[in-house]
Symmetry: C2
Subunit: 284 residues, 2 copies
C-alpha cells in the first residue's frame, strides 16, 4: 500500500515544502502535468525519483496554452484518480493550483521562445508555446526544482522548454523521457480518451507510419516526397486530416540534415481529436 | 580607503560567489545598471546595503533595450571609474558579463510585460520594456538576490519590473529608490553627459515644470489642458520636442484618478538627447 502524495494548492505551501526538503539536503524533481494522468506520466514520475530524492507533480490545466477553439472545456478532469496514480508511483507532493493562484487579476506577462518553437505545432497552434513557456517558467520559479522531466511525446515542447531554461538561466536540468506506448505503438495521451474503438484502431497506425517514414528517410529517401507520401498514407488508413509530417534536426528542430540525428514529427486528426507523435531519424 | 569590489564576468562565478554568501547566512541585494555610474546609482547601492548584507551591481549595457536608431554606440563606457565609485559605495561584487555571456548564439527568448508597460515610453520605444524585462529576469535568475533596487527616475521601468516579478513568481523583493537630483532639481542620468552647458541650463527646468504641473493637477486643474500646457511650457523654455507629459495612477500606471496617488511622467528632447523624469501627484 503506497502513501498518498501531500496536496497543496498555494505557491506559499509549495515553497514551504520544498524549503523543508532542501533544509534536509534533499534534491527535488518536478513533473509538470495537466492532470488526466496515464502510464506516460507515471513513467515521468519514476524517472524523476531515479534522479532526485523527492518528486513534485503539478496538476494544472493551463488555459493559456489552449486557443478558444480548442478542447480546454472537455479536457479530462479526474483529480482523485490522478492522486491514486501518483501514490502508486511514489510522488511525494501534488501541486494543484487553481487558475487565480497562477494568474491573479492583473496578470500581464508572456514569455515567447523562438528557435525550436517556430513552425510545426506553432503553425497550427500559434499561441501554444507562449502559454507553455510562461506556465513552465512560473512553475519552475514557484517550485525551484533541481530537475524537471518532460515526455518526448511532446517533442517540440521538450525542445522549447530546454531553450527556455538555457535562455533565461533557469537553473533546472531538463530530462527528456521516452514515450510510453501501448503494445501496438500508440503513444499514451490524455486525448486518447476522446477516441472510440474504431478511432483507436486507426490511431494505432500513426506510429507505424512514422517509423516506416523515418526508415525510408534514413535509407536515402527524398525528404519532400517521403513526408508527403506519409501524409497520404495516414489519410489512407483513416486519419481525417494531417497537419504536418516533417523531419527536423533533433536538438534544435532546424531543417533536417542526413548527417545529424533527426526527428520525424507529425500531427493528425481523427474526427475532432488531434494526435501528435514523433520518432527518431538516425543520421547516416 | 575602501575595498574594490570583486569583479566577475561569468554567470558561473557570480553564482559561486552568491552561493558562498548564502552558505554564510548572508542576504544579497542586486543593483542592475548599464554602467556610467553617477550619484543616483550610488544611492541605490547604499539602499541595497541597508537592506542586505551584500550588494552585487551588474554593469551590462544591454543591447536589446536599444532600438537601432538609439544611442547604444555612444552610451558612456567607463568601467574603471565605475569600479572606483562602487568601492566608495561599498558594493562587494561587480558582475560585468559581455554580450555573448548574456545572449549566447541561438538565444531566442523574449519576455513581454503588459499592464504598466503599455503606453508612455512604449509609445516611443516599442521594444524597450521587452528588452528590460528579459534582461532583468535573466539577471535575477543568475544572481538570485533577495532584493533588487531600482531608481524611481525610471518610474515606468520600476512598475514593469514589479509586475514582472509578481507575474513570473520571481522571488525578489523590488525596492524603489527616490530620484537623486542636483541642487536645482535635475535628475541624475548617464545621458546628462551628452548635454552641453546651455542644454544643462534648459534641462534644469524639466523637473521644475513637472512639479508645477503636478501641483496644478492636485489643485483641481483639468488633466488634458494642464498636461498640454506643460508640454508647451517645456518647448518655451528650450526643449526641442516633448514625447509626452502624462498623469497616471501611481501603482499600476492605469489612467489617473484624483482620489488615488498619482504620478506625472514625461519625456522630452534636447537636441539628440532624450530625458525622462517624473514626480508625485498627491491624491485629493
Amino acid at each position: 500500500m503506497s502513501m498518498s502524495p501531500r496536496v497543496v494548492d498555494s505557491v506559499a505551501a509549495l515553497r514551504a515544502q520544498v524549503r523543508d526538503w532542501r533544509r534536509d539536503g534533499l534534491s527535488v524533481a518536478m513533473v509538470p502535468t495537466m492532470g488526466a494522468l496515464h502510464d506516460g506520466h507515471i513513467s515521468l514520475v519514476r524517472i524523476a525519483l531515479e534522479k532526485a530524492d523527492r518528486c513534485v507533480v503539478s496538476i494544472f490545466l493551463n488555459p493559456t496554452q489552449f486557443a478558444p477553439s480548442e478542447d480546454l472545456d472537455k479536457y479530462p478532469r479526474q483529480l482523485a484518480r490522478d492522486l491514486d496514480r501518483l501514490a502508486e508511483a511514489g510522488a511525494e507532493l501534488a501541486f494543484t493550483p487553481d487558475v487565480t493562484e497562477m494568474y491573479p487579476t492583473g496578470f500581464a506577462t508572456r514569455i515567447s521562445v523562438g528557435g525550436p518553437a517556430a513552425g510545426l505545432e506553432s503553425d497550427f497552434r500559434p499561441t501554444f508555446f507562449d502559454g507553455v513557456a510562461t506556465v513552465v517558467a512560473k512553475l519552475f520559479l514557484q517550485a525551484s526544482p533541481d530537475y524537471a522531466v518532460f515526455g518526448e511525446k511532446d517533442y517540440q515542447q521538450l525542445c522549447v522548454v530546454r531553450q527556455l531554461c538555457r535562455d533565461l538561466d533557469l537553473p533546472v536540468e531538463i530530462i527528456g523521457a521516452p514515450t510510453v506506448r501501448d503494445a501496438r505503438g500508440l503513444a499514451m495521451s490524455s486525448r486518447n480518451a476522446y477516441l472510440g474503438e474504431a478511432e483507436l484502431e486507426v490511431a494505432r497506425n500513426f506510429n507505424v507510419a512514422l517509423r516506416q517514414t523515418a526508415a525510408a528517410l534514413a535509407a536515402g529517401g527524398d525528404e519532400g516526397s517521403t513526408t508527403a507520401e506519409a501524409s497520404r498514407a495516414l489519410v489512407k488508413v483513416g486519419f481525417d486530416k494531417v497537419d504536418y509530417v516533417a523531419a527536423r534536426e533533433s536538438l534544435t528542430l532546424a531543417p533536417w540534415r542526413r548527417d545529424r540525428d533527426g526527428r520525424l514529427l507529425a500531427a493528425a486528426w481523427l474526427g475532432k481529436t488531434r494526435l501528435i507523435d514523433n520518432v527518431e531519424v538516425p543520421s547516416t
